[in-house]
């Protein structure tokens, strides 16, 4: 039918337009990052000088972003995984309330959380000046993603029955947790970890308020370069961020796919 073909073509064109809206700027940014002069275009030649300059200027922000992301991951794992188990096994109104409270930072804008942290702990100079202050913000923001991701997997493997089974065999609680519960939660722990790392590496709203000149992360450096560097340098810096984030995205997609197949 002519009308069906028309509808199909219209939708296809629209989809291509939307895809272009999303991908063209990213492509421009990648191109600009390796072009000698963006204004004159790609014919001015390709270069890695801007990437090198980014490394010179901002290597510190990249390192501290990774340090902060992995520290955040460590805390969310140590506190989040046992908590996910406890919330699921205990159940009831208290567990739901705790889950609700730890999920609040997802709904409350980062700006408000950062302001609250500053008002409360801004006076503790050494803490406020250290990168731990940023880790604290990131932990508050990413914790719900870890806890929920692990809880979701625990719920599908019926952790309560497993736990009771192991208990009836006489295994003490901490052994059951380590030998039975944690191995069964691996897919959720993995998915949660990737989420936490990705969110922490890209976090800006909180970090902008919490950082000091000595504790800059990559997104802070990005904002700085967007405001004060030439377009090529800002683009090269964005390119570095893409390179960091793409493996994480691919891994997350892969986990989602394998879970979907199962």
């Amino acid at each position: 039918m002519v009308r069906d073909r028309l509808i199909f073509t219209g939708q296809l064109l629209f989809t291509l337009l939307v895809a272009a809206f999303l991908i063209v700027p990213a492509g421009l940014s990648i191109a600009a990052g390796v072009t000698v002069n963006y204004f004159r275009g790609i014919q001015s030649g390709l270069t890695l000088q801007w990437v090198a300059q980014v490394w010179e200027l901002y290597a510190g922000t990249i390192v501290s972003s990774f340090v902060i992301a992995f520290a955040t991951l460590a805390v969310t794992l140590l506190a989040g995984v046992p908590a996910a188990y406890a919330l699921l096994v205990r159940g009831g109104r208290l567990a739901r309330m705790i889950e609700e409270i730890i999920t609040l930072p997802v709904a409350v804008p980062g700006l408000a959380i950062a302001l609250a942290l500053l008002l409360t702990y801004g006076g503790f100079g050494a803490f406020r000046r250290s990168w731990l202050f940023i880790v604290v913000g990131h932990v508050v923001f990413t914790m719900p993603f870890m806890v929920r991701s692990v809880m979701a997997v625990f719920a599908t493997v019926d952790i309560k029955t497993l736990d009771e089974g192991a208990a009836s065999l006489g295994a003490p609680a901490w052994r059951r947790f380590w030998d039975v519960i944690v191995p069964n939660g691996i897919p959720g722990i993995l998915a949660g970890s990737l989420m936490v790392i990705t969110l922490s590496l890209g976090e800006f709203n909180l970090t902008w308020m919490l950082h000091t000149p000595l504790t800059k992360t990559l997104p802070i450096g990005l904002a700085d370069s967007y405001a004060s560097m030439r377009l090529e340098v800002a683009s090269a810096y964005t390119l570095v961020f893409f390179v960091m984030i793409i493996p994480l995205l691919v891994a997350m997609q892969w986990i989602a796919d394998t879970r979907g197949v199962r």
Binding site: P25, A86, L111
Partner: protein
Amino acid sequence: MVPCRVGGAFSFMSHRGFVWLCLLPLVVLTAAFFLVPMARLLVTGAEGPHGLAEYLAILTEPRYRATLVNTVLLAAATTVATMIVATVVGLFLQRHRVVGRSLMIAALTFPLAFPGVVVGFMIILLAGRQGLLGALSTRLGGDKIVFAYSIYGLFFGYLYFSIPRVILTIMAAAQKLDPGLEEAARSLGAGPWSVQRDVVLPALAPAFVASGAIAFATAMGAFGTAFTLATNIDVLPMLIYTEFTLAGNLATSAALSVGLGIITWLILALARSFSGNAVAAAG
């Protein structure tokens, strides 16, 4: 296997005790770094020269109220536009196995991990002073198109931010739809539009509400994009930021951010009670 009653150093601990111990680190962290600071924020909001009235200032002070209205309108416009775009695209990609489908999906979901600042930069590359649209429009002999640094830039930034998320939600929901329902409607004589209107869209309603609420809350509270595009765009997060850093107005910025937090939380909570669980990543 004989059940052993003595199981190592921790056997003295009851099961209940162990569960509490598992919960303890999270409870301590949440109390120290979220609940106490939030309480402090609430108190600070009332410690200004106007006392508790500071909390009403967001509604009574004309400048703040204008900003609030501005922000809500922008968030609503972004949400409506995102929903329309994502529904058309998501349903299309879910239905048709066109050539390059997986490539299109990759292109549409790649920006998922971009923080707000990077999204702002994407809009600058598209519609900024050295942007693509400006270059194209001057080459075509027209006026140079530059809108990145205005509220329209912010609109497209939030669109850029939300489209990937909503498309994924809609595609996942559409995948679960029973194709038999559509066929039944068609065999009963319903045209393609009425099938969409009466069968497909109502079935997707929970996904719409969940992802719409996320898009709205994100557009209300996000800060990175506005920060990158310009410092004088009149939206609530920018107002809070300038009140805090430039004016040093602690009470006002605290009261405003409590207000903003309540609005975004309320929207997400309402949506959740309507459509089940949804966790959002606000950037």
